[in-house]
């Protein structure tokens, strides 16, 4: 499974991960950054540069954050869909 950006990124959007990604698979939406699983090559370069430890391998996403696997994958349906799902998450949080 590819890498996933979790809720720790919300409101942070440090962007360092964008610089290290070899395939430009990290994208910015309103509140956070997401990784397109269709593009991610699993290289692990982004994980250690995140200042808030928001990035984990998909199989290691904490159980309570698992909806972020779908939130990242929603990039395939467009930024609006990602924003909608993040807003839903924030409304509950």
């Amino acid at each position: 499974m590819t890498y996933v950006i979790g809720p720790a990124c919300i409101g942070v959007k440090d962007l360092t991960c964008l610089d290290v990604c070899p395939v430009d698979c990290i994208h910015e939406v309103d509140e956070m950054l997401v990784i397109d699983p269709g593009e991610c090559i699993d290289c692990a370069l982004c994980e250690p540069v995140c200042p808030v430890d928001a990035i984990t391998p998909g199989e290691g996403v904490p159980p309570e954050d698992r909806e972020f696997i779908a939130i990242n994958a929603a990039w395939g349906d467009g930024a609006d869909e990602v924003n909608r799902l993040v807003a839903e998450y924030l409304a509950r949080a």
């Binding site: 593009e39 090559i41 290289c43 370069l45 250690p48 540069v49 199989e59």
Partner: protein, 488 residues
Amino acid sequence: MAQEDSSGRHLENEQYHLGRESWFTEGTQRPAHAEDGGPQRTVHEPARETPVHEETDVLVVGGGPAGCAAAVAAARLGAKATLVERYNHLGGLSTGGLVIWIDRMSDWSGKQIITGFASEILDRLPEGALAGAPPEQWGSTEAEQVAHWRERLSAFRDVVTWSPMIDPEWLKYESVELAQEAGVRLLLHSWVVDVLVDGRELRGAIFESKQGRRAILAKVIVDASGDLDVCAAAGVPCESDVEGKGANVQHCVNTPWTWGGIDFKRWVAFKRGDPGAHRELMKRGHEELGYLETPHAGWNDDVALFMGPRLTGYSGVNVDDLTAVEIESRRRMVAHLQFFRAHAPGFEHAWLLLSAPQLGVRHTRRLIGAHKMVMDEWRAGVRHDDEIGVSPSPSSKFANISVPYGCIVPAELDNVLVGGRHVATDPQTQAFMREIPQCWLTGQAAGVAAAMAAATGAAPKALDVRELQHELRGQGVYLQPAGARAAA
């Protein structure tokens, strides 16, 4: 009081039990790593005479993909080639490390561009030891073919690729047989621990085995250790994300595993037939184990491969870290086995086939070379005049990638070449240059260059690149036509 041994020789008391003189002296120098929290105390080892095990033309250190390709390539050019490997097999991570999905030798159009040793070794695998898409499907985007091969890690971004899953035991066997046929002098169970430095050259290396510590003298050395052990031992600076200042222990490390007794067709039928139940199962596994690996089909459908568990924050050159990863990986392996046996269709009779004897290290040190491959360069489609091979790009957004000779030539050593995951790159380029086919590619080039250097006495840096390219083509390596830019 003197004693006598069985043959009547007199022995001093203190020598009687050990058969050698006392040899323990407290060290006086603070070790280099003490600043970083390493050991504070040293012992002093006295100088000694080290037997020369053999003299050779080309010494290849490390029998992984790069080292195998290098040794065979050098021997084929008539060099006396000696390959030293610390484990009991060849193939490195592609066999002992269970990186058995050989990802990937075709470009986004389906054309195979990593050839040469890569083609030769895979062609030797018998029926049943390799599962990969047939050539007519390479580059296919047909949904059913993509779905089938994705389970077997042979489709990526909805494109079928030439990246077969192989049986590691057969690859071990064929690697050794191929090396034997090529006339490579093979030393298994031998670990290179030091080098013989003479100015900007290395006269050979020291290895240790059950016979103790011995030297091999060589005209040229190929560092295919994966961790740049030869260059690091020579004291030349290297790039590293895991040692020294600025280290961030960048890459995850893991012991992957395989299971037998699997009915993978049933598992795939379950996944595709009832996606909701599959999702629920994975969610439950995630909650129960705190972490869930996805199984992939092995070279046969009765074998499952688990590529993880990816553990981060560990260094591939720290022995305590390596030990911790082994322990944690196997604990997770057993937890996964219990969960999958109990809940996953097709896994009811799963049994532990193998936990990889070689730890999956992605990256430690990188060479400082005559040329450094960097992301901006390959994204721009730069075609190197000294091209030694062509790599598929990591995304279909980018053209095929020209691999330059300069990235395997050390900047500061005059008779050393480098092949494998530690060639001169930035981290973004290492992300794909570390893969098995790319290690074959740089290894084969290093072997050819080493044989040429050994034959002529020229420094690798001074070799005629056209002649090198001619020899590589002669060994089946694909290079782009002269003057052409990298094609998409």
